[in-house]
Amino acid sequence: MIALTIDVTLRQQAFELHVRESSAVEVLGVFGPSGSGKTSLLEAIAGIRTPDAGEVRVGDRVLFSSASRINLPARERHIGYVPQDALLFPNLDVAGNIDYGVRHSRRALPGMPQLRSTLIEILDLGPLLVRRVQKLSGGEKQRVAIARALMTQPAVLLLDEPLAGVDRARRDRILPYVLRIRRDLHVPLVYVTHDEAELNAIADRVLHLEGGRVVGPAAAP
């Protein structure tokens, strides 16, 4: 459970994203059609895009505040980000991707070997470790990208449509992995999707975005 304060204004070419949300949740679902600003919202939280105004707080850590002129760079935010297309580094194998944060972050990350084996077990990555990332299926890529993000022990994990590139049958196989992260690792999630059924399965609060605006806090399922 973590208090997440998102109050973001981000001008885009097509629309202006404006989201104001403060909640203490384990899984915050963000629901909306394509182009509603879901990905931009995640990028603003992760520190990839700078909002024009507003504030982003995780617990009592201020990541961004236009009023106090705070804008932590992405590398200091401790936010795990799993983009829709996973974006595994193509020059590294699966193990190299998973270990990237531990190897290249300046942050001291205690308890690494144990976390690594836990993640490999939870996400069922054992058989994938020596594979080249180009040879993985969409669902496998997602699992590796989730492990890569979680290895850095983020305060929040952002998942951008983790099941979008995956067919129905496989979808039902990946969702349990996400649920296990929530249950076993207690990492709060922001879960973006355009599929309401997924949110019913996982989120305890849902933001409904349309055209860059919150059109409804869509009652918790």
Binding site: I48, I79, P90, Y100, G101, H104, S105
Partner: protein
Amino acid sequence: MSAETWAIAQFTVQMALLATALTLPLAIAAGWVLARHSFPGKALVETVVSLPLVLPPVATGLLLLWLFGRRSPVGQALDALGIEVVFTWKAVVIAMMVVSFPLVARSVRSGIEQVDRRYEDLAATLGATPFRILRTITLPLASRGIVAGAILGFSRALGEFGATIMVAGAIPGRTQTLAVGIYTFVETGREEAAWGLLLLSALLAFGAIYVSNRLVEVRA
């Protein structure tokens, strides 16, 4: 083929390799800055970087001759340190570096521009500093552009003539390169030796172009 011909070819290849090795880090830095950063005066920097590409090499050589000569502050400073550049092998390397730098920097830059920036953004969320990201993600993903640039620069260095003859001269056994050697042999009526150098130049050029084309094929 005479021992003299071989010695000239060997000297040229050594100088070109050294010039490429010294140019590469500079070209990578310039290519990265131009591909990934914007700053006031960027257009000016881009122009200056490309200048040796358009300037007649002899003119570049004249500039270098002045820069490293006794009348410029740079030349005086080097002189005070006891370092002699003009008409030595160091001048050969510098001439090669200056004329090949724009080619290498351009190739590196386009290699880096083809790397999806989102990989770099993602690496940042994992805690990596910009320099780490450059080393572990950007450069490996741009490696073909970098290697192609190095080969291109090496080839350009091998054939360097105009700037070299101005700033390094054509001192047999000391600063004489393939291109300069061909010219002086013809001038002094030693046509046969010139043809020997021509053959070696052609072989080296063939090899470099072949390797570079193969790299482009692999990429496509």
